[in-house]
Amino acid sequence: MSGDGAVLRLDGVHKSFGPVEVLKGIDLDVSAHEVVCLIGASGSGKSTMLRCINLLEPVDAGRIVVHGEDITARGVDVNRIRRHIGIVFQAYNLFPHMTVLDNITLAPREVLGMGRAEARHRADELLARFGLLDKRDEYPDRLSGGQQQRTAIVRALAMRPDIMLLDEVTSALDPELVAEVLNVIRDLAAEGMTMVIASHEMGFVRDTAHRVCFLDQGVILEEGPPDRMFTEPGNPRTKQFLQRIIEAGRM
């Protein structure tokens, strides 16, 4: 998987919220078409890390490099960078006053300057692919959680990003709706989408990730291929975390 050169690189990234240091020097290389999963307890910094990559949070120190460009440098046009990096949130964050179609076509039309017809055509293709075409003219609050989250994924994909960041996208869902969302992500992985995924769904992580990173208190404590990480974790804290997950019946 590596060897293509890193599409995304984090270099000693630090981030604090007030007195709390959430990220304490994160280093990570992600190659093209690679799926990297972030695991770790709540508060370990997974979400903050993804928000920093999307420039929703400015980093305090270190740098983030995308396609060789330092996107954390001063004077970088954040909107140009964000066109290539899609993010999907735990709480979907769809726009409640817009139909599914308008949610999806807003950014292509207003950011990429795409015509209404073309944006609609592209949205239809994606909606059909993810089984949402019949929901095109619905408002988000009328959809199930799984449908909303798939819509949010489609909305991000409509910008044709090179990298997708998924922030615990199934954590807000009822258990029976988790699978439909995970299947969409598996599809994307199979297609070769470069992704960084924060997830608590260990079964999914195990069969989808090319590489698993265990975050603990703001650092990547251990990383490796899922087979090794889940069967013979090297770090005692990783071991402890996985043990708790197994006890909670989530694997």
């Binding site: 999307n54 929703l56 954040v78 949130f89 726009f95 006053h97 807003l106 408002y139 609050d141 009328r142």
Partner: protein, 283 residues
């Protein structure tokens, strides 16, 4: 009515659910007694005949109507002219007030200063200052407008400050995750405001916005103090000419007549959005 102690019906009016069957009976009786006492006091008051004659005589009500209604047209014009400008100007103030970053500090200060100032000064004083002060400046164009225009200007100055705060509350009530989602899609700050935040914020503040506009509608009567002839002024003129106050009653009636449909229209607007956005029932 269910007998006391009988099981309550599962579905009932809100009042009967709150009070129970016996409670409704008691509350109805006490309301009737209260109204009867009030009516008795009013009817037996020594001046009742005189008051009825000078405020509610049918002939005078009819006679005052054309004159007061003609004046009320001016109130409507003041209202629509002012509300149109206020909706835009106040939104601008609210957005400017919320601009982030040190670059916009001076603009923010101007917006906050403006809002503080004009929420603090009574409309009557602003009317005097604008209506008599600006013509007194002797400037071209600015000082040669009609008193109608100065009336509208004063209403806009004062009410924009209120409405700006209503808008601001709406903008701040939109969860930051909405902004994050829009920004993550590479929408600029301005486009995020325009397409994501403002449409939701404005819908949310329609009821308080209407409240301010009802206040504005009534305050158009104050514009008569700088010489604009409107409904309250015409009612006064009718009173002076006929020694009869029916004109005031007519004017009051016209204002209420305007307010109630507006309130129902707002209810309908809110209900429509609610129904459109939200699930019709359990999924």
């Amino acid at each position: 009515m269910a007998p006391p102690g009988a099981p309550q019906p599962a579905v009932g009016s809100r009042a009967s659910r709150m009070l129970g069957g016996r409670g409704v009976l008691v509350s109805t009786a006490s309301t009737l007694v209260f109204l009867a006492v009030v009516a008795l006091i009013v009817i037996t008051a020594p001046g009742t005949d005189r008051v009825v004659r000078s405020f509610f005589s049918w002939e005078d009500l009819r006679a005052a109507l054309p004159q007061v209604a003609a004046g009320f047209v001016v109130n409507l014009q003041l209202m629509f002219a002012a509300e149109g400008v206020i909706l835009v100007f106040a939104l601008l103030l609210a957005v400017v007030r919320g601009l982030p970053g040190p670059v916009f500090f001076p603009l923010r200060v101007v917006a906050i200063g403006y809002i503080d100032l004009f929420r603090g000064i009574p409309l009557l004083l602003v009317l005097y200052m604008v209506g008599f002060g600006i013509p007194g400046l002797g400037l071209q164009v600015v000082s040669t407008q009609s008193i109608f225009v100065y009336g509208v200007v004063a209403l806009v100055l004062v009410y924009s400050a209120y409405v700006a705060e209503v808008y601001r509350a709406g903008i701040e009530s939109i969860h930051p995750s909405q902004t994050a989602a829009a920004r993550s899609l590479a929408l600029s700050r301005w486009k995020t405001m325009r397409f994501v935040v403002l449409p939701q914020a404005v819908r949310r503040v329609i009821p308080p916005l209407l409240n301010d506009f009802i206040g504005l509608q009534k305050d158009t009567a104050l514009v008569s103090t700088i010489g604009v002839v409107e409904a309250a002024r015409e009612a006064q003129a009718y009173a002076a000419a006929n020694f009869n106050y029916a004109g005031y009653v007519v004017a009051a009636f016209l204002w209420v007549l305007l307010t109630i449909p507006l309130a129902r229209f707002t209810d309908w607007l809110i209900e429509r959005d609610r129904r459109r956005w939200q699930a019709a029932g359990p999924r």
